[in-house]
């Protein structure tokens, strides 16, 4: 439990209205987007400046109080759950877009800016921030950076780390540092910016970020291709890329997802298809036309049974809505869902999918596959019920084997969700102990009192 006197100190720094201690408020900051990780903090603080955060960190460090930074709380790793209590540093009010530099195509933001709000502001300037975690309606830039988030557009644009030029960070001892800068190239010493990107809030609090932007594509097209064998869909992914077309998204839905979506909102997806790929091309109109033609041609040549090009934006929107509804469909169908985040080298997607199907049979489970086929990041989801012990145990075994299988295929256990609490046991299992030791050494150097988001990652 936190000392009473500290609450008074925080109230002095932030004002009473930005310090929450009621048991109702603490409960409301005990969870994130995961199903089962829940732990209450002792206090929730709402700073709106770097100076306030530095002052809070100084106190927390001196008193050895855990601090868990939190943005939109949309993460699915347990990352923003204050698992050891202490302070939740809620950054949602620290949310100004400080500058949009059209000429240099950069933006400077505070950590609480929500990605959708940023992209709406950027759109007015003809710009956009390409990394697209599908939680964009609630996810904040601070969290996106801390989790090194990615999404469907990774195929062409990559993930968050490719778009962070510089950061202002408050260290656990309250010191404020600036790492990186505003330039596209920068090899001045170690790349400390990347130390904080993906650090899951365990090394410091990002208080300002310099983002690299892209010009808004002038045209987009969506192509839906239908396959009677999910492995053919997997092959199609690299066939398209090998022929020199880089769509910005290639998403995969399996038969189960297609059917659930059709139940929820009928939109004419082929119910008997084994898999559907959704492609999106973007860029200048002529190139988009050409790339679309090419994708249609390749898909047909390599075994798609049906290929449709969305006639207009409304049709395209329907397909992408279906893709987004996929996860809701999965979560709505079972009391407990393991949403995996394994990622394999692109060419091994068919192998991974076959592995999932075999495990579903072996353990008599429903394992649904959807995800970002274009970058090898799949979300095999196991439907189970934590209250049904036998079923749940089988699900756990299947999940273990999926992860082992992905690693055997040359992949990793998380592509975009992070380790947090959810994947700790696998992390310890598959990561080289010497690598973990090195990470722990860095953590001890930056955060000797282990106050920043303690209990996470390893």
């Amino acid at each position: 439990m936190i000392k009473e006197s500290l609450i008074a100190d925080f109230e002095k720094i932030l004002g009473k209205e930005n310090v929450l201690t009621s048991k109702e408020s603490l409960k409301a900051y005990s969870y994130d987007g995961t199903t089962s990780w829940i732990h209450e903090p002792d206090v929730v603080l709402f700073p709106t400046s770097t100076a306030e955060i530095a002052a809070i960190m100084k106190i927390a460090n001196a008193e050895k109080v855990p601090v868990t930074p939190r943005g939109g709380g949309t993460n699915v790793s347990g990352g923003s759950v204050p698992i050891q209590g202490g302070i939740v540093l809620a950054l949602a009010k620290f949310n100004k877009i400080l500058r949009i530099d059209k000429e240099n195509m950069t933006a400077t933001v505070e950590p609480g800016v929500v990605l959708m709000d940023l992209n709406m502001a950027l759109a007015r300037e003809g710009l956009f921030f390409p990394p697209d975690p599908q939680s964009f309606l609630g996810a904040t830039l601070g969290g996106i950076i801390a989790e090194n988030a990615g999404g469907p557009a990774c195929v062409k644009y990559g993930v968050t780390k490719q778009y962070i030029l510089g950061l202002e960070v408050v260290l656990p001892n309250g010191d404020v540092i600036n790492v990186g800068g505003r330039t596209l190239k920068n090899v001045v010493g170690y790349d400390l910016t990347m130390l904080f990107v993906g650090s899951e809030g365990t090394l410091g609090v990002v208080t300002k970020a310099e983002l690299k932007l892209n010009p808004m594509p002038l045209a987009r097209k969506t192509i839906m291709a239908v396959y009677d064998d999910v492995a053919k869909a997997g092959e199609n992914v690299f066939r398209v890329l090998e022929k020199g077309v880089i769509p910005n998204k290639i998403e995969l839905l399996d038969n189960w997802v297609i059917n659930r979506i059709e139940e929820m909102m009928p939109m004419g997806l082929p119910k008997d298809a084994d898999a559907v790929l959704l492609f999106e091309t973007d860029g200048i109109p002529e190139a988009v036309e050409k790339e679309t033609e090419k994708i249609v041609e390749i898909a047909k040549k390599y075994g798609a049974t049906d290929v449709r090009v969305a006639k207009d934006q409304a049709e395209a929107d329907r397909y992408w809505l279906a893709r987004r509804a996929g996860f809701a469909a999965v979560f709505g169908k079972a009391p407990t869902v393991f949403a995996e985040d394994v990622t394999v080298p692109r060419g091994r997607i068919p192998d991974l999918i076959r592995k999932c199907k075999a495990l579903a049979k072996k353990y008599d489970l429903e394992i649904v596959v959807l995800g970002h086929a274009g970058d090898g990041n799949l979300h095999p989801s196991i439907l189970t019920d934590i209250k049904n012990k036998d079923h749940y145990d089988r699900a756990v075994k299947a999940m273990d084997e999926i992860i082992e299988g992905a690693v055997e295929l040359g992949g990793v256990l998380s592509g975009e969700h992070g380790i947090g609490l959810e994947k700790q046991k696998f992390f310890r299992k598959v990561e080289n102990p010497k690598v973990i030791d090195l990470m722990k050494g860095i953590k001890a150097l930056v955060d000797p009192n282990n106050i920043m988001n303690p209990g996470k990652v390893w």
Binding site: S22, K27, Y29, L137, F327
Partner: protein, 423 residues
Amino acid sequence: MSSDLKELRKIEKDADQCMKCGFCSFFCPVYQEEHMEPAVARGKNFLVKEILKGNQEFTPEMGEIIGKCLLCKRCVANCPSKTQIDRVVVGARAQMVKEKGQGFIKDFVFRKVMSNRKAFGRYVKLASKFQWIFPKGEGNIRHLPDFLKALGRGRHIPAIAKTFLRDQVNEVNKPQDGKEPKLRVGYFMGCATDFIYPEFGKKVIDFLTKRGIEVVVPKAQNCCGAAIYFSGDFETGRKLAKDNIDAFKDVDYIVTACGTCSSTLKDYKVYLPDNEEQQKAYETFGKKIRDATEFVVDVMKVNLDELKLKKEFEGKTATWHDPCHLIRYQNIKEQPRAILKALKGLKFAEMPNADQCCGMGGSFSVYHYDLTKKIAAKKMAGIKTTNADIVVTACPGCMINLIDNVAHNKMPQKVHHLLELVE
């Protein structure tokens, strides 16, 4: 916990739907102002589930949290797992009222005043005598019901009618052409129309009887119950439902020109049923309810090109505000726009945030007037971009709030009910 949580058990399934993705935060007008988790659907839902699990009680703060929701249903409309958070919030309020009561003021206002048409009228009349006090009143008229008291906090409010609608119209109004009626329609007036805008009611009756429809206006009709049952007083809500069901027998449809009333009457079945008999009665009643906008377009199928614009609106530009109770509670979006666009001589300009709540939320604005003003400011910004001369809507509740905020923001726009535009 000693309580059986009867009302809360009814919404347990709804609460379990939430997968905590947090997308609701983007759509919640209250969260967008406060940026705190208890403000948003996900937070409220989590806390309600804690009550269901026995980990949380109906503390005053809990009451404050579930009270701070406009019930605008934007989160519901955009929820990937389709959680009916409105049912969760209203169910929790009902459980709380059951366990803790609702306090003397609400008890008095809901049970003694609003649920008794004559008494309500008397109080409104009394309040009207004090109208001169309102702009600088600042809450010093304590003997009046609190909702009227709150109206006095520097708020610009429309004047209360000299003669209420009820005292101006007949119970039965035959088609004007003297022929056999094509349809027999019950007209539900609603409090705001009865007490503040009686001319809307007369307009509805005239419009329908001109087109061969018989309109009955039962004197026994009561308040729709929105302010009452959305606050959790289900007991009074059920009484009002029964009054209204009994008042409107033998009609083909029941029509109202208040978006909140039409949705409230339709949705007795969603929130109130306590047994199967009620469920059935509410469903049967709900099927007959039509908002005036959908009745004109979908049922009467009026040739909209024949509608005439009133002279005073000739050459003006109109923008449309979607009341929550039309667009999200009843999926009525195109009908009013079709009418506006068909009116020759009127220009139509869509505002960018037409579907956003104006911030009124019935009694929400009584308790959280400052938040109401902040939320309305965003609406006002949207209106400004259209350069419209008039803001048109079809809910007297929204109108009251829009009028107030147009005035606060010193904007030139006038606010009108869609009915007012039609000759």
